[in-house]
């Protein structure tokens, strides 16, 4: 399926990002490989602390300097201008190159829009700042562009004119997230990393924001890396999905395939724990038994072993590779070895 000339915007190979804390080493990302094609939506799911966000921060090199280190692997980033791919793991995290990429070519939106917007500046100024930083427009042109972006994210022409001079606390949650998206998209990035973009919003606004993101993705032809623990968002937004557990990708493939018949025990557990329409009202949700292991001392071999419903096998004690079970569908489980 994958042709040799297939272009990837970002290609992560065996990335390992570790945190060195006083209590020990946390292997937050422990050998993640994934590719993002131009214009596609890739979902990254997993429970809290499984390394989803750290993967994203590794791409942008926004990891905390003191504690985090990329100890292994490559992140190849294709700038899309014909130049050779940039190796993001070795660029200076404060240098000009990565700062040109951040915001301009790879943009990111965060979970909590209120804390991501500075309370001391108007929304408009923050968008204008991003535009001017990367495009060098003069004040008036930048303001016009900010207005048009606010319009495009669904504020309406008159709404955009009102909101541009407001401070973030005057905006509703949905408006803030729209403003964040306007800011992120204002430089027409190739890739938008959305880290739990809808978690802080209520369900109707969630749907609107997702719809908006899908529309804008089509218009701009950008790729989206959707980081979430909400399987519903994945089903709505993404074409491909990678499931993470304890810093590793345990299953990846086409969204339909994974939702129809997940084959990694962890993914199966996740699917079982989603509330479903039409199920009996009294039926309880079924969690995956046990809890995630201590991040400071992850057992060797399969990290899911202590919680796995499958009878334990000796092979689980060793490192399990990601196996292509059927074309385009990968799982990290000895059942398919």
């Amino acid at each position: 399926m994958v042709a040799t000339q297939q272009r990837y915007i970002v290609q992560i190979k065996d990335l390992k990002t570790h945190f060195y804390t006083l209590d020990g080493v946390v292997q937050a990302v422990d050998g993640v490989s994934l590719e993002i094609e131009p214009g596609e939506s890739l979902g990254l799911v997993g429970e809290s602390g499984c390394g989803k966000s750290v993967t994203a921060f590794s791409i942008l090199r926004l990891l905390p300097k003191k504690t985090a280190r990329i100890v292994h692997g490559n992140i190849l980033y294709d700038r899309g201008d014909g130049s050779p791919a940039v190796e993001l793991t070795t660029v200076d995290p404060n240098g000009d190159l990565i700062r040109n990429i951040r915001g301009n070519e790879i943009a990111m939106i965060f979970q909590e829009p209120l804390t991501s917007l500075s309370p001391m500046h108007t929304v408009g100024n923050q968008i204008i700042e991003a535009i001017q930083l990367h495009q060098g427009l003069d004040d008036e042109a930048a303001r016009q562009q900010a207005l048009s972006w606010l319009d495009r994210v669904g504020m309406g022409t008159s709404g955009a004119n009102q909101i541009i001079d407001q401070y973030p606390h005057r905006l509703s949650g949905g408006q803030r997230q729209r403003a964040m998206i306007a800011m992120a998209l204002s430089c027409k990035p190739q890739l938008l990393i959305a880290d739990e973009p809808t978690t802080a919003l209520d369900v109707t606004i969630q749907a609107q924001i997702l719809e908006l993101m899908k529309d804008l993705q089509e218009q701009l032809g950008m790729a989206i890396l959707m980081i979430t623990h909400n399987l519903g968002v994945i089903a709505e937004m993404c074409e491909r999905v990678a499931v993470m557990y304890m810093g590793k990708i345990v299953e990846s493939g086409d969204v339909r395939t994974i939702f129809r018949h997940p084959i990694h025990p962890y993914t199966v557990g996740l699917m079982r724990s989603i509330p479903q329409l039409g199920r009996q009202v009294k039926a309880r949700l079924t969690p995956i038994p046990g809890s995630i292991p201590d991040p400071y001392s992850v057992p060797s071999g399969c990290a899911f072993l202590p919680r796995c419903p499958v009878p334990k096998m000796e092979a689980c004690r060793q490192e399990v590779p990601l196996i292509e079970v059927e074309p385009g569908h990968f799982a990290r489980c000895v059942l398919y070895g």
């Binding site: 395939t257 997940p262 025990p265 557990g269 202590p306």
Partner: protein, 392 residues
Amino acid sequence: MSDTTNKSAELFRLYEELSDASADLESEESVDQKALDAIFAASQWQLMWRKFKRNKVAIVGGIVVALYYLLALLAGFVAPYTLEARFVQYIHMPPQRIHIFYAGKLQPYVCDVELTVDENLRKHYAPNCDRRFPLQFFAHGESYKLLGLIDTDVHLFLTSDGIVSLLGTDRQGRDMFSRILYGSQVSLTIGLLGVMLSLILGSVLGVVSGYYGGWIDDLMQRLIELVRSFPSIPLWMALSAAVPPHWPPLRTYFAITVILSLIGWTWLARQLRGKVLSLRHEDFVLAAKMTGATDAWVIFRHLIPATLSHIIVVSTLSMPSMILAETSLSFLGLGLRPPVTSWGVLLKEVQNIQSIALYPWVFAPALAIALLILAFNFLGDGLRDAADPYTV
């Protein structure tokens, strides 16, 4: 294709079986997991203790502080002599060396000293080890009251004859070691009392100021600024001049403590006001008010306990300044006066050129103060780091 579909269905079925048997699984939970759960469920104090334990310097500071207080408590027992004991034949004697072994046996002793006076009338003490005074442990000496209650005459160590003086003697032939121990009783407790008083003043006024805001806050803050803008030494002088000179030493001592704490509370009040300003908008305060709690209830049951870790840290860190304040007051002759013995009084007695030039050992109280202040600061720093919820 159908192969993976079957596999998937098989996994779903396995989970079904598992949830039926999930009751057994609970008991199988590993010990590791339980230890981890204990951390997640730990109270704020347990977490503080966990962090504090890792800070070795703070632990050492804490041990030193505890030792000081223990010694102060048992001063009469540890000190070989009482405050009244004078040795006129051993005036301004330098610290004696303790010999541990005698004739290959473990038998600590001190040598006698011989006094010679040179042509400049300078005293020279030369050890004369022909006459040895073995140390007697738990020996009977002068009587005193242990812990201020029990009449006894047992001392940790004594000599039957002559004198044992670890830190030399002063101009009246009094043992410096014993005097420092007795002085610590006053100097250490004046800090405790003073800190406690300023703690009560500071926390109540600070919390009230932050909680009510408005004109109460304004008034309180201006008052704090007023108190703090006074130069402290002239203020001490004025206040201690107000203490009648004919008062007995104990009452003077108490008055000094009150004076110190009346000035010392402002710092804590400021910090707590800031804390409460942010706490009073928290939901738990609102919830308490909704259920009909009075302001006093909210302040004493919710706000002060919420800032308790901070109060403890501040009080530890302000102990040294209280001790130093007593020392400097007495040093200036404004605070305690003989016959009360405190570290400040001891230092006041030696502020002259002869002491520095000829009898440097009489400055031993300064070393005792410096060591204690350092220990307190290390302890306070450790507590502050441990109480900070934003570090791991």
